[in-house]
Symmetry: C2
């Protein structure tokens, strides 16, 4: 296969399809989504067969259990995919929304209209359900999609793509609105991320290594999610009733998610008051504490076992553990807390626990992260919790989309001018 010609063909077809999608009515797009869901339910056995083929090959290749787990499609997973498509159909259509229409002294009315980005390239690893999710979000937001999943999931992805195409055809939309790259050649990714004439934005979903490589090599904007080194800062005016519950939820509810807190900061004046309870709560969950000398001494004095106490090294302050480990630092005050966060955070999500109005607002304004919270668990940083209805990812970039990215993040706003024959003086 000539990768160059193949990718150019996909790109050209996607660009052409994107014109039809941008003009498609909400009804037509929803018809396609519901037809895809029906087709996925109807094709359950075919999907399971295709997935078995991928699983056999993965096992034969000796791939690890975690990957096999991500690769596996169950009957329940297939139903979840179908109902996910129906949920996207139920979301409001962001396309065409007009805002800020104002009359100018010249007589023209100027405003903005929300429009699709055009063509979105999604690069992901061995989770076949991403194929249906990503197709749905791109379609609903009026964008054509080129999907490049992990090579381990190729047969599953092709089977899902067939259902997606059937749904598109039912609604009278071009089948090239959603295309799955049908080669496992890595050169296809290299080409996908360097075709600005055909692809408007790349959304990589996967490990940090994948995302860093794509960002480095892309010639197209990338909506990317790197790591989540989230912080909770316990201020000198923290409400005692809120401290342990928030820290417990933020750190221990799930260890492997990007919005899990990895680092705890406490104001010097209240560290001795709060650290013992926090420490005992963390011990209960078996969480290792990597501490600054002051926090370490306070926790030792509170009887925290030495087996869970380690002196933090510089690298701990920037680490995303994704594990039952937390770094703990006592800081002088809010200024030091903000400076520490703005230096070491990955810019994902940070929370302050305080009853002090001025410090709460300063934290909100001065912390330079995608989500900044007052008196709430960092675990809330999520498209569903924020009410986006769906999420294509969480962006740690500042340009375009920041934080959880829903349908709106897959659109842009163009200017519109409503005139009555005006000319410029």
């Amino acid at each position: 296969m000539d990768i160059e010609l193949y990718m150019q063909r996909l790109g050209r077809q996607a660009r052409a399809a994107s014109r039809a999608l941008a003009a498609a009515s909400t009804h037509v797009k929803n018809t396609a989504l519901l037809a895809m869901a029906a087709e996925i339910r109807r094709s359950r056995d075919d999907l399971l067969t295709a997935n078995d083929r991928d699983l056999d090959e993965a096992r034969a290749a000796g791939l690890d259990a975690a990957l096999i787990d991500r690769l596996t499609l169950s009957a329940k997973g297939i139903e979840a995919m179908a109902s996910g498509l129906e949920q996207v159909a139920a979301l409001p259509d962001p396309v065409g929304e007009i805002s800020d229409l104002k009359r100018r002294p010249s007589g023209i009315q100027v405003g903005k209209m929300r429009v699709p980005l055009g063509v979105i390239g999604i690069i992901y690893e061995a989770r076949p359900n991403v194929t249906a999710d990503a197709a749905a979000l791109c379609l609903k937001s009026g964008n054509a999609a080129i999907l490049r999943g992990g090579k381990e999931a190729l047969h599953s992805n092709q089977a899902i793509a067939a259902c997606v195409r059937a749904g598109l055809a039912t609604a009278g939309l071009p089948e090239t609105s959603v295309q799955v790259v049908e080669t496992t050649d890595r050169a296809a990714v290299g080409r996908l991320i360097t075709m600005p004439e055909f692809v408007d934005v790349i959304v990589p979903r996967g490990g940090k290594g994948l995302i860093e490589r794509i960002s480095r090599e892309a010639r197209v904007p990338v909506i990317k999610h790197l790591d989540g080194n989230c912080h909770v800062y316990v201020d000198s005016d923290a409400d005692p009733a809120k401290v342990v519950p928030i820290v417990e939820n933020a750190k221990t509810q799930r260890y492997g998610t990007c919005n899990t807190t990895e680092s705890l900061l406490l104001a010097e004046s209240v560290a001795a008051h709060f650290l013992p309870d926090i420490g005992h709560m963390l011990v209960k969950h078996g969480v290792e504490m990597r501490t600054c000398p002051t926090a370490g001494a306070l926790l030792r004095d509170a009887g925290i076992p030495a087996s869970l106490l380690t002196a933090a090294v510089e690298a701990d302050w920037s680490e995303e553990y994704l594990a039952p480990i937390i770094s703990i630092k006592v800081v002088a005050d809010l200024d030091e807390a903000i400076a520490h966060i703005n230096t070491f955070s990955s810019g994902h999500t940070e929370a302050i626990i305080t009853e002090n109005y001025t410090r709460a607002l300063r934290f909100l304004r001065e912390v330079d992260s995608a989500s900044v919270m007052i008196n709430a668990s960092t675990r809330f940083a999520d498209g569903f919790e924020y009410g986006l209805g769906a999420e294509i990812g969480i962006s740690t970039d500042k340009i375009h989309a920041r934080g959880p990215v829903g349908l709106e993040g897959l659109t842009s706003q163009k200017w519109i001018v409503l005139g009555n024959g005006e000319t410029r003086a």
Copy 2:
């Protein structure tokens, strides 16, 4: 000079200053802007002397008259710079604006806060006034700036930068909030656009060659303006009273601006009706017409001199003439007009002239350009005409800022969560 160490130092200082700027009040930022304006007026003679030095060197180097013209600072130009700073001070501060705050079922309130991008790198050519303009827009939007002007303007830029620093000092802001790159080594640009750890976005201002090179090599997002190949489409239901005035204004008011119309499309059913009047108007302005065969025949029949009529070649449909030349094509209908524009336009600005409601709305929605207009001249696509108060450039990108970019385009929105001790279920 070690460019690597020098640029890293500028970057580190800018990042540190950006923290102070993000936290600075509107009053402090405006104080700095007004102090800069006063300092520029006070330093008029120094600025003229520095500019003379640049002009002497430019003349000695045999640079062309157009460049010398752009490089020249007059007393009037200095006054315009100062009053430009005062105008930016008078604009509303975009930073800190909270929007869309909604309560979620979990109890948290989720919304967005507008915040600075951080550090902005501006790369421009030999126009010294850009130094003051760009510094003002970055400062007002709470961003630190690293400015790299054309080497021909180095002394002028340094003199302006001294006034900017004096203004910053008056307001108690770090003088490193605005830094001018003080080396003419081209490697400095190469480094500026590849330091994502220190620079959040690059705004290049200059010719297409400069912008293409920067976009190709940047490792940082670029807000860029490529060419403006703008269209006017005269629909079958165009109001005859609006056609000639809009086309005349859009094409002939100024030839060298990016929002000037370069290509005229007419619906087949009205081409014979409108082309003679349009042609005679264009003849009056000495505008050369590059036409499709149908338009050419109609214009010849209307008595347009052969000296101003040329058969268009394929390249004409994508050309930004920036000159008294226009390409003219007769199309079957709205569908062909939209398809033609979406194929050949640079995505800057397009207008339809029509009284038909449905076709007007279809044009508005389906034309994929930064500005789309109904019954108005493309010349309105401009930050001042749109009410932005100031403009750092016009973006032909779709991601982040599209079309005229004002203060808002130099900010992003982060998520904020106002909680009361909520934890995630």
